[in-house]
Every structure is written in structure tokens, then in C-alpha cells.
Symmetry: C2
Amino acid sequence: MYDMTIRLRTDSGKCLYEQIYEHIRKEISYGKLLTGEKLPSTRFLAEYLQVARSTVDYAYGQLLDEGYIEARPCKGYFVCPVKELFQMEEEKRETGQAAWTESKRSHEKTRTESGESRGGDQTGMEAVRQEPLVEEGGRSAAFSAPCQYDFSPYGIDMSGFPFDTWRKITKNILTYANGDLFSRGGPQGDLQLRQTISRYLHSSRGVNCSPDQIIVGAGNDYLLLLLEKILGRHVRIAMENPTYARSYRIFRSFAYDIVTVDMDENGMRPGRLEQERVRCAYVMPSHQFPAGTVMPIGRRLELLKWACGGPDRYLIEDDYDSEFRYRGKPIPALQASDEQGRVIYIGSFSKAIAPAIRISFMVLPKPLLEKYKRDCFFYSCTVSRIDQSILNVFMRDGYFERHLNKMRKIYKAKHEMLLEELRPFRKKFRISGENAGLHLLLTARDQTKEHELVRKAAEKGVRVYGLFDSMAEPGDEAGRDAREKTEGTAGVFEGATVLLGFGGLDSKEIQEGIERLKEAWL
Amino acid sequence: MYDMTIRLRTDSGKCLYEQIYEHIRKEISYGKLLTGEKLPSTRFLAEYLQVARSTVDYAYGQLLDEGYIEARPCKGYFVCPVKELFQMEEEKRETGQAAWTESKRSHEKTRTESGESRGGDQTGMEAVRQEPLVEEGGRSAAFSAPCQYDFSPYGIDMSGFPFDTWRKITKNILTYANGDLFSRGGPQGDLQLRQTISRYLHSSRGVNCSPDQIIVGAGNDYLLLLLEKILGRHVRIAMENPTYARSYRIFRSFAYDIVTVDMDENGMRPGRLEQERVRCAYVMPSHQFPAGTVMPIGRRLELLKWACGGPDRYLIEDDYDSEFRYRGKPIPALQASDEQGRVIYIGSFSKAIAPAIRISFMVLPKPLLEKYKRDCFFYSCTVSRIDQSILNVFMRDGYFERHLNKMRKIYKAKHEMLLEELRPFRKKFRISGENAGLHLLLTARDQTKEHELVRKAAEKGVRVYGLFDSMAEPGDEAGRDAREKTEGTAGVFEGATVLLGFGGLDSKEIQEGIERLKEAWL
């Protein structure tokens, strides 16, 4: 390992993280740190330099983002091949071949992370922030045993994706698309796609909406930004505890007042909504993330009753993975029970097709639609008409349905195998969140701590995800406080709980990973 | 014309616009209004029903957006073929062929509107809002003479676009893109594309930035939404008067305090910035929209001096059409003169490639980059990695440069022809804003009013755009007030001023259009 001595100056006008960043960058530039060389862990370096861990996190984040170093999951940070980087300025234009080679390299990698739908903290700075999860067990554990089995709840299986169909549709569309498709379309998205989506939502989710109520946008994050402009700046919003971290951060970046509401086995407890005078509640009734709860109709009606009990109250329904249900009839969306126009429905194709396609949609109830048209209609659509057309044909011509049916079978098989493999765990763990989505939960029946489970798994080369780590990012004190106050929810998950995602692993990996977890936990 | 009697009720619980909307929708559904039939103008119907014009505007906007009616520029509103709409629910899935036919129909249309870069108020509700521009001259004028020559400043020429190259690149990328490209990339966009953009900006605009400072996003509107999260909620921002209406509306939707600052022939007058205690100033130094001014280096340095004169002050440089300059050396960006990190640079490919590609970028100065990484890094990128890769190859392999050179020649020829054709106008009009961009300005030397020029042109079938109508939407009282108070700017444009865009017209259309304008104005 290279000499880590960095002369940190408090009088240089440069903040500490910048000094660390620059030092390492120079070390790489001057060839003192070589390609493939491992950097010290952020915790180790922080202790060594006597600075805050977050300072080193920021420095590494910057280096990551600029492409000097790369994060290998569960392994640490390594120096990238930098020749390319430093030739950047002089770089001659290469032939077109280079890009194909680049893409070719990833040809074999057929599984990917669905960042959009749930999580997606795998890149750049976020990767750094998640690192503590793995390092928790001490440096030796995290860095000696490489993580071979990642039970990420954000993983999806791209091996079943009909690439050829997608290519064919794209080719056909581009062949005839000389004019209109290269112009900017309407702000809500193309009517044809919205018609297709509204039909799909009606038949598969029971959602009642006209194409006019649909707004197409490049990802849920963007749609929430737009929703802020529609709902207004000062909104008191209720979220379940635990909830989906990305949405939590987004609402926090809006400076919304976030009220975390405890869950019972049916989801959000409606009592506090009235009491806390919230205006909106964000829920995932089909399959709550991360708790895996399916909200029964009784609770749904309670929430709708609350929403109808005051002016301008709304439920935001994030229907992120409702396509995947493995038992019984599909459960309709909450919006399907809404007769008063109180539900804002948000869906995405990230889990069902691919995170890359960056197409989400939002169904606005009539009063908000008016507000949108009055106040936000000048925001242009963020999805290109070409991409909208490809998706439209993919859905309209039945490919989407076929793909969903295929994936449902694939995921169902993985889900059943995982449950089967988990049989020996049932004595020590309670299993929940099954029969839907791409993850389930294990809750310890004894006094084990969440981080112990995570650490012991990591020691065996397996990455699992702690339930409460999904609530807020590590190091985020507000979030930590919030989650430590959750006695109500702690009641539901009596005991340490981890998430096991199965979307991104094949059956062999699931079997081997669970074998390792047996060694770790049983 | 059909019977317009609509029984409006004040006790029905439905607002007036909804009643009008529903009435007309039913008339269409029941076949009382037939395909291709013309609706009354909004002004006429509003007078007839004794309701506000905006009420009818909203009703028409809704019908437009749902596809019941269509707006034909300068002609009015017509009932769409509705068979498709009403078969929607029962509609059987058609074969893939349908979409190709749909696209084929637009095959011939090779020119399009660049909504992203400047304006783009051509769709849905916006079209309604812009209608008064045309109707100003009275119903007879607008509706009797069809508008054949649209000198839209937002028009671009797509006939020179290398569709084949674009298709080939897309095909090549999709051929090898099985894995990574279908996953979500980093929040700022792919490093390769950012490297390519940073090289391009350096060589063509003199912009100094590392790829790390670049954020790729789906359009300027989205990037401004993100910028709001970085700059914070309460920003006092200066904008030139007149300025680009879309940005004005966006900043207003942020509830930013907007200070409109008068221009002289060099652009924004810096005096009031200090005086008004603004924190940010939004400028277009390369070619101001709509005034066409190029900001000289002296004024640029004054603005930079202001920005450096206080903490946390920034200039937002919107470099929307800098690619097109027809005389002398290219003028570097304002960012190129910025040594203190006070300029936020925003660029887009809407004008230079096509509005459809929905890729813009923002260059953040270091202090804001830190804020972005701290507070906004979880917002996922709004552009798919596939689209990013296509653009990257297009730029990296020299196609973009070739395309720009070609378009520069095409636009230069149109620009020169337009100037030549305008020779007879010079006695009555002052011409300005030439030698750059896709529009120039005509200012009357006599006492003619702006709306008279617009009306007289419309009577001859020519659409021109009033200078002050670009400042704020018609019917927007705040904007109207603002623009009526602009004595300072009125000093620069002493006399009625109209914009003549030439991007979307071919040379024959330019000649014929100007011929008509001669009849109208001279």
C-alpha cells in the first residue's frame, strides 16, 4: 500500500476534502498510484488523517465521479486505467470503432440494477455513502472476503429482455422518422403513448384515467419535481416508516415537512394523518418498500376517507413494482378505489422494462390537472418523441405484455426457490413481504442486531441490506433520529430485519448465496 | 357554423370552462360537430357566452390536449377525426404496421420548430395563448387569410439533418448494448459524453471546465429545476427586458423575485444589479433573445465584476444559439472570461441538432458543484444512456462539427438573402440583431404600433412576432405591466419592433413572404 501521508493545511483556503482529492489525483497523475492499485478504505484513511469520515467520502466521491478511481462492490476503491484520462486533451478523434468496443465490453453483462424504481444508490457519491453498510463489520471483513452474492433489492434481471425486438422497433421508427419525431412534442407527452398507457393502466391496474390526465416524464425524480410545482412549496407530507429513501430525500430537498408515520402489518396507520394535519401522504399500497406489506382494502378506504375529509388533501401512490405478483389475482391500484380525485398515481417502466429507458408517468386527478395546465404547462416534456414512440409500439403491439408474463415467470421461479432455500431459516427468522415484488424480508426472532447480520453475511461474501438503512442514508442524523424513534414500526418488525432481493441473481447464485448465509447465521 | 348555445350553470358545481369543454366534447362525440368542422374563435365564443376569454381558452386547451380538436396556425380550431378516439376502449391491437404508417405521414415534413431553444409555445394550451397575437387584427383578418409564411424565430431547418448517420450510430450502439447501456448511469450523465462536451465547449466556446462540472439533463427546463434546488428557494434574479419568455415563466414558477433590468445596445445595464441587491442575473451574451444583441467584452467584464463583488452571486449564461454566427470570429462564451467561478453555463442541442433529442447540459462553477453533490446528487439523470451514447459518438466522430458547418452555411445563406430582400424596408425600418442566430429584428422608424405590423402581415398571410410579446404571455398582467414600464428598453427599440425568424423557411418562402410584407407594410 502506498504512503498515505497527506499534508493537510488549514491555512490554504482549500477545504480538507479538496486537499485530499487533489493529493490523490496528483498521485495518480504522476504514476505514484498505479492502475488497479487499491486505495485505503475511507474509514481507515479518515482515522489516519484524523479527519471526519465524510471528508474522505467527499474526496473519494469526486475522484470516483471524475473517473480516477472506481468502486468495486464489497472490495473497495481502485485506481482506474488513467491513460485515457490524461490523453484527454490531446486525444485525436478515434474511429467509430472505439465506441462499439466499449459497448462490446459490456455485452456479456446481462443483469443490471434498477436504480430508478427502488434505490439506485450504486453510483458515484452514493456508492461511497453506502459503503459503511459493508464496512460495518470492520475493515478485515469487508476487504478480505469479496462480496460474491449481492442480494440487492434493486437488482433486476435483464437476461430476459427482448433486445432484438427493441432494436427492430427502434430501427423501424427511425427509418420513417424524418420530420415530426425530431420535433418537440406536447408537454405531457405524445397522445398515442398516453392512450396506450391509459389502456394498460385500466386493464392491468384498474386505474381510471383519461390520456389527458397522464404526464410522461424522464423518471420519477423529475415527476416529483414537477409535482412540487403543482402542489406548491409548503406541503406537510406523511411517509411511512420505513419508506423508500430516494423519495424521502427528494421530499426533503423540497423542504417539505415530512411526518414519518408508523406502520402496522397493513401499512401506514391513518390515525396520525388527521392529528398531524398533513396535506399529502406518500404510500406504496401494492408492495411497500422496503417492508413488503400489501395494503388491504380496509386500510385503503381509511386513507381515502382521510383524503376526502378535507380540502386539497392527496395520496401519492407510488406503484413501483406492482407488475410482479406471484399469487392470486393482481391487486388493483389504490387509484382504482378513488372516486373523488384524491390519488396522484406514479408509475415507471424501470423495473418492468429497464432502468435505462427513463420513462415514468404520473396520473393527476382533475383538480391538480387544472393547476398543472395553468401553472406548469410550459415545462417541456423530458422524454424524446423517438423514445416515446418506441415504448408506444412495444406496448401497443403486445411485446410489453409478453415480456411481463415472461419476467413474472422468471421472478416467480426465483422467488419460490428463495423461499424453499430459506426453509431452514424459519426457526430463527420470520419471513415476510413474499408473493410480490423482487425482495423479501427476514426478521430475526432473537436479539441479534441488524448490523451483525449484515456483517456476518459480508464475512461470507454475501451482501444483504438492513431494513432501517433503507430509511435514510448513513450519516444522516435527521434520518437516524427519525428511525430510532419508530417504536410503532419496531413493533411490526420485532427483531433485526434484512432485505433479500432476488431480481439480479440467477438460481445458482441464489442457492450458493443462501448456503453461505446458513453458515453465517444459523 | 354550428349552434353555439351552451347552457352554462353556476349551480352545477362544475366550473365554466369544464362545462364548455364537456358540451363541445359531447357535440363531437355525438357527431353534431363533424371532422374538419371549424370551431368559433375563442374571442367570439367568449363574447357570445359572456364569459372571460381565458375560460374558453382553457376549454379549448383541454379539447386540444385530449385530441378532440386541432389548432391550425393562423386558421383556428378544427374538429379532429374522432373515430380513433372513440374506438379507443374497444380498439384491437393493430399490427406493427400502423405506427410506421403514422411516422411515414410525417416523412415529408422536414422542417420543425425548435421549441426547446427558444419559445416552443406551439403546442396545446400555449397555442391557445398565442392565438391573440394572430387574432389581434380582428377575426376576419386572422381567419380569412391563411398564414402561409411563418417567420417564427423558433423555427429550425431539419432538412440538413444527417438522418442516415444518426440511424447508423443508433443501430451500432443498440447492436452491442445488451447490458450496461440499459442500466441507469451516474446522476451527472456518462463520463464519456461529459468529456466530449467539455472538449467541444473548450474548443468552440472557450469554456473552461472539467467533465466533472457538467450535468447532462433532459432539456433546459429540467436543468433550471435542478438549479433551483442548488441555488435555493429564495433568489432575487435579474432578467433583461425583454427576455426569453420560457425562462421568465420558469423562474416565476419558482417564486423567484424577478427584477427586470433595462437593456441598452450592449445588453443588460449592470447599474441596477447592485442597487436592486439581486443574487443572480440571467443573460444571453452571445445573442440575446429576442433583442439579438451581442454583449461586448466591456459589458461582460462589468457583469463579472458585479458577480465577484459579493458572496454567492452568479451569472446564468444561456448560450442557446451561439453555434450560428455568420461574420467574423466566433465570440467566446461569458464563462470563458470568468476566473472566479461565477458563471453557470447552460447549453442545449435543440437548435444545433434537433429539439427532439432532449439533451441539454449545465456547467457548474466549483462552489455550486459542491452544493449539487451534497444536496442533489440523488436526482437521477433524466437522459437514457443509449441517447447519451448516440450523441457522444455523433460528436466524438466529427459528425456534429460537419453538421454544424453545413447548417451554418445554410443559415448564413438564408440570413443574407433575408437581408437582401429587406433592403427596400430600410427607409421605414431599422434592422438589428443580424449576423448571428436564426432571427433578426425590424424596428419601425415611424409611429406604427407593434400589433398593427402583426395584423397587417397576417392579412397578407404572413406571421411575424412582436418583440414585446416575447416578454410575457398575453393575458399575463404582471408581464404586461413589466413590459409597459420599460422606458429604458423602449429607448433602444424606439418604435414598434417585430422578429423575423428564418430558420424554418426555405429561400423561396423567404422571398415570397417578404414580397407580401412589402405589400403589407411599405
